[in-house]
Point group: C3
Chain length 395, copies 3
């Protein structure tokens, strides 16, 4: 009995169903280089082996969003081949760094199902986890997609809408590389080209990133194939001519990657991405669009058991064909009348780590707990999450 | 005396002439990753080191068509720089797997020459072999091209038209990776996402592959440069504006690679390509074309001395701008009135290996020799081709 | 105090100012493969590990212009983000080969400043050096750029215009790989496909390279991102629509790389690039342009202490949309009336090494010093530059 090669429809999903996704993938230095070539990423831990080693890594960790895109790509065939829309992300945690030579596979569990009132589509919620060759989880996330029903009249009894935390709590975030001395921090700042550290950012602050990046068809195709994402909407111009937008859509993960690369100018000192608290592809991007980005600091707090680095919760807003200065913050989320600014393509709420200023042989974080800027979201206790979570760090 | 940098003309070729091609090439993990990024390949032995090792390989073998394209690219400067058309392939055998770190070079022997009646062109037949750094052949094939004469009036005495076998006999096919246990097979099927194995295919069966891939100029240029293929027709838009088609042509090997990548959905369990029995680029592909593919099972047989895998002889038909369901099989080869369906760009007859269903501690192939489906082509005896052919497999 | 993320203006530069550039970069086999895919390079030492080892290298050295482009990319953020024009290069020396695994960073010193009479711009001269992870210089060069002033009325007191040597003297050129025997040379010539060696070239000779390469947007974007060059003019189509040319500009280093790759047909036996004596991007290149190239032999001389290889000083002229045969040499530099031929985009004066013909167990270079072709530029004494300069060669 041949499996249906046209993907799953809403009726095919069951609550608690476990889906083991196909095509495990070994990632190498080449994926790291291609990611730089396709996105223009300049974040230092992924670019320079010297710096990665100073931070205690045995090699350059692969860019967090590169890992996400490969992990995500594996889930498309079974989850979203017949998706009308990728509605949102939540509770994404980067659990362990990924290095050249690791082999990644993904698995999903259906955690929610809700038919839409039109009865033509339904919303499928899945929690997906990416595992490495040692079966250790390296990344997990939730997403929900609107999926076509095979037939509007078919009856779907299961209905459950899960709820998600608004931000991953601090004690569930994994520890990033470690700044063991002021020398390491100085070397780091020389490498990033910036001395604006965790201490210098304040909630409410907005950073307009100066660069823009125009997307070509071949760029996003190449990236999406690199991720072995096989969704037709990205690849088949003949089919997409019949769609409302009339063109191939740029894979949302590529939009995230490009916007994130643009943030380098202004957020040079981001050490790693710890979590995506939530995110939405607000409107589609097509080849020819020029992407810009601005960031807002939502919150900041100490990292549990760490005085060398702190956490920043950021909002990354991706814009098409509008420079950030032309898009007021208020409008990005909801314009007057409840509609978003039409330029917004991406609205991502994520948490990063960044080194703190170093004082008296230690970082400022340890000496002046920044209680004034701690929001209600993070937990009050900061237990050390321990080395058990960082098996790939050189001890 | 500078060599002619404008390539060879028909008069320059001699029967039995040996041509050692230039620019040996070391292939690495990066070629494997670029191949995925440029074609969307998802075939598992090239994607996942874990699986490759389970099959007895010391590393991921490079994709068969990647190897072919690099080996082929080397022959262009001396064989087909002045080719009017690449007429066909035959007797292509994949002899040994290629791994990261291997250095490949190609050599050709002129095995046939035939002037055309117009006297403006002639057909050159060459048998080309690709060697690795240990001077072991890893791939050999025959192709014939229509080459311009320098001057119509020049006299060419040599004339010989070689004949080729319609399919490489089974005992000349090399053994692929080995499924040593049911565990390996289960792991494999989890990885490919399909449990449709060799036993499930029947000659005459047709598989319409669901995905389509629109080709961009930058895609095929990048791939063709990766193969160090320097044929002007792919690269020089100014020159090609003066040609009949008016545009740069997509390198035929890229068309094969894209169509082959499309076959993943439906032929997930192909283990490796053993041979190309014959093939033709039926009509040119240019940027902007969307490629689709369907496959027909021509034949199937046991592999000599192997109960874990069997051979499938497949016909891969590449289509441009038509989905497979709109192109009946009969029309692909020859339409009413003897003309092919205009959508057909590629017609390839090739042989692959695929694992068999596993029964009682062994695969079904060993227990039920599928005599009913064996064609006249393969030999009756299946001698074990021995480990001498698989020096790169971990014993 | 946030640094200005919009780059430096003319007023920001000081004579003798040292600028340590950000984002060190580890280069790998993947950069080598991507360079082949993006430029079509076929030069053998970078393509074949077997040949590289025969020449005494421990691995394939990365292509000289790949190294240059990565080293150069690092300097853009601080030097040329607000450059109106990249006016010229001089005194570029390749000091040491770069291998997979090396981490590169760049540093610049301001060596000249001159305000233009319009007072809207000024010329900044910098000497930049690229270092590897052991802090050994691997490449150094001078360039000068026209940079916008923040305000025309601001007063800049410093004014110094440095002068440069017209060609790097022989005793400052670094020794390339070594041909230890006739066997090595034969193997080399088999690999390059040409037996036209150093002895066969004469000053004044011109080589029209046959191939042309049409540039796509995605090609040059991908290359420029690979080099982590973040100049807006290459990436932001919205911004560039407001510019005089109305389009994104192809990064000049990509133009050099493409033209250099085209020279393979005719200069197959170039062993390595030793120096760029001077160079100019004569006019801009945009996507859609087709690049062609011709080379002129300016000069040739023995390499200090080396009888196996000689130096050739070459002029590489890059043309857009005109084949070389249509552009007379005289016109390239200065047409009648003092204007260049409009097709010229690149005029590069550089020095390469090439093996010499081998006679009586040694190369011809040792036996017949080619005094007749030595120009006044190279020094009369040829001291052996010693092994200290070649630490990466296997002894």
């Amino acid at each position: 009995m041949p499996r249906d090669r046209h993907g799953s429809f809403f009726e095919d999903f069951r609550l608690n169903q476990v889906i083991r996704h196909a095509t495990p993938r070994t990632v190498t230095e080449a994926e790291a280089s291609l990611y730089i070539a396709l996105t223009g990423s300049r974040h230092v831990p992924h670019s320079a082996l010297t710096i990665a080693r100073s931070l205690g890594y045995r090699n350059r960790p692969l860019d967090d969003f590169l890992v996400f895109n490969i992990a995500f790509g594996k889930t498309v065939a079974e989850i979203s081949l017949n998706a009308v829309a990728n509605l949102g992300y939540a509770e994404l945690r980067f659990i362990e760094p990924v290095f050249s030579g690791d082999t990644l596979r993904s698995e999903s569990v259906v955690i929610g199902l809700k038919e839409n009132s039109s009865r033509k589509t339904g919303i499928v919620y899945v929690r997906s986890t990416c595992y490495n060759q040692d079966e250790r989880p390296i990344l997990s996330w939730v997403r929900w997609v609107m999926v076509l029903k095979r037939r509007p009249q078919s009856i779907v009894k299961e209905c459950y809408e899960p709820e998600f935390v608004s931000a991953i709590p601090s004690d569930e975030l994994c520890s990033p590389g470690r700044f063991s001395s002021k020398v390491t921090l100085d070397e780091w700042c020389d490498a990033t080209g910036s001395r604006i550290l965790w201490n210098d950012f304040a909630p409410g602050e907005r950073i307009d990133h100066p660069l823009g990046m125009t997307i070509e068809e071949a760029d996003h195709l190449c990236a999406t194939r690199l991720y072995q994402n096989n969704a037709r909407v990205h690849f088949d111009a003949v089919e997409m001519q019949r769609s409302k937008i009339g063109k191939r859509l740029v894979y949302g993960g590529h939009v995230i990657s490009i916007c994130r690369a643009l943030t380098y100018d202004g957020l040079e000192n981001v050490l790693g991405v710890l979590a995506i608290n939530g995110g939405q592809h607000v409107s589609p991007t097509v080849a020819g669009d020029t992407l810009y980005a601005y960031s807002e600091v939502i919150d900041k707090w100490n990292m549990p058991g760490r005085s060398d680095v702190g956490a920043l919760r950021l909002r990354l807003v991706g814009l098409k064909n509008f420079i950030p200065v032309d898009v007021p913050s208020a409008q990005s989320a909801t314009e007057r009348g409840g509609r978003r600014h039409p330029a917004v393509v991406l609205d991502l709420d994520y948490t990063v780590s960044m080194p703190c200023k170093w004082l008296d042989g230690n970082s400022i974080g340890a000496h002046s707990p920044v209680d004034d800027v701690l929001s209600a979201d993070p937990p009050v206790a900061f237990p050390n999450t321990g080395d058990a979570r960082r098996p790939d760090l050189v001890s």
